[in-house]
């Protein structure tokens, strides 16, 4: 998968159109967290409804790759499709009234923050494997120091310092990528 992981979104789309299964796997891998976050955190769909929307989003994506006007626009297309299907799901579930009375959680600003989160996540791929692993376990899977320590066979007491080092490394790396001045 290392080959497909290094491709840009538009390169992936082009390869998917040619029937490249590895490229499609990478599309799902790259955007699965993003779609999931919109359904679950944004629209707070139940497990089964979120799963239906998640699968439908990727099914439509696969079907309509050929219709994308701009291959680089895959991410906004996914965001829009996930929002639309999530709203449809809420309406089907008879929660239309409820959604109308709720403040719209998935506005453009919310999506922009999610875009930023995805970019940070993708940047994490540049870190050494052990950093990726510990950051993913702690922040994304919500695993405890004890569980991480047991799985990675390192003392639980050293996990916090490892996380801290990895975050600092990531911060440094993101700073180099953007050329921005560090926030102190």
């Amino acid at each position: 998968m290392a080959g497909a992981r290094s491709l840009s979104d538009s390169q992936l789309v082009a390869r998917c159109r040619d029937g490249d299964a590895e490229a499609w796997n990478e599309v799902v891998e790259r955007f699965s967290r993003y779609v999931y976050a919109i359904t679950q955190r944004g629209f707070q769909l139940s497990g089964a409804d979120a799963e239906d929307v998640f699968q439908e989003v990727f099914a439509r994506t696969y079907e309509r790759l050929g219709d994308l006007r701009d291959d680089a626009a895959l991410r906004p297309w996914l965001a829009q499709t996930t929002r639309r299907l999530s709203i449809d799901s809420l309406r089907r579930g008879g929660r239309e009234q409820a959604t109308e009375s709720l403040p719209e959680p998935v506005d453009d600003a919310w999506i922009a923050r999610l875009d930023e989160a995805l970019s940070v996540h993708q940047a994490m791929d540049e870190l050494p494997d052990q950093c990726q692993d510990v950051l993913d376990r702690f922040f994304c899977r919500d695993e405890s120091y004890r569980v991480i320590g047991a799985d990675l066979e390192i003392p639980a007491g050293t996990i916090a310092s490892r996380i801290s080092r990895c975050l600092a490394r990531m911060r440094e790396m993101l700073g180099k990528e953007t050329g921005a001045e560090p926030v102190r």
Partner: protein, 84 residues
């Protein structure tokens, strides 16, 4: 992208939990599942007995084609065969 401190990076990482592995796997298998379903529907179109067998036990038919028989794929197959 903005420059972030460690706390912001941590918060942004938390914003994107990983979905269940089964969801990811099912989405990755969509293209292969689609080919298998298209093939089965085509055969069922030409064979009424096969169509009856598939409709009698959709789950088993999907398994036989190498497709994970989840709610979605079963409903899709049933809908397509019912249209025949």
């Amino acid at each position: 992208m903005h420059m972030h401190d460690e706390e912001t990076i941590a918060r942004l990482l938390r914003d994107l939990p990983r979905p269940p592995e089964a969801w990811i796997r099912a989405a990755q298998e969509l293209p292969a599942a689609r080919v298998a379903l298209d093939d089965l529907v085509e055969r069922a179109l030409a064979d009424a007995e096969l169509r009856r067998t598939v409709l009698a036990d959709i789950q088993a038919a999907l398994r036989q084609e190498g497709v994970e028989p989840d709610r979605r794929s079963a409903a899709a197959l049933r809908a397509r065969l019912s249209d025949l």
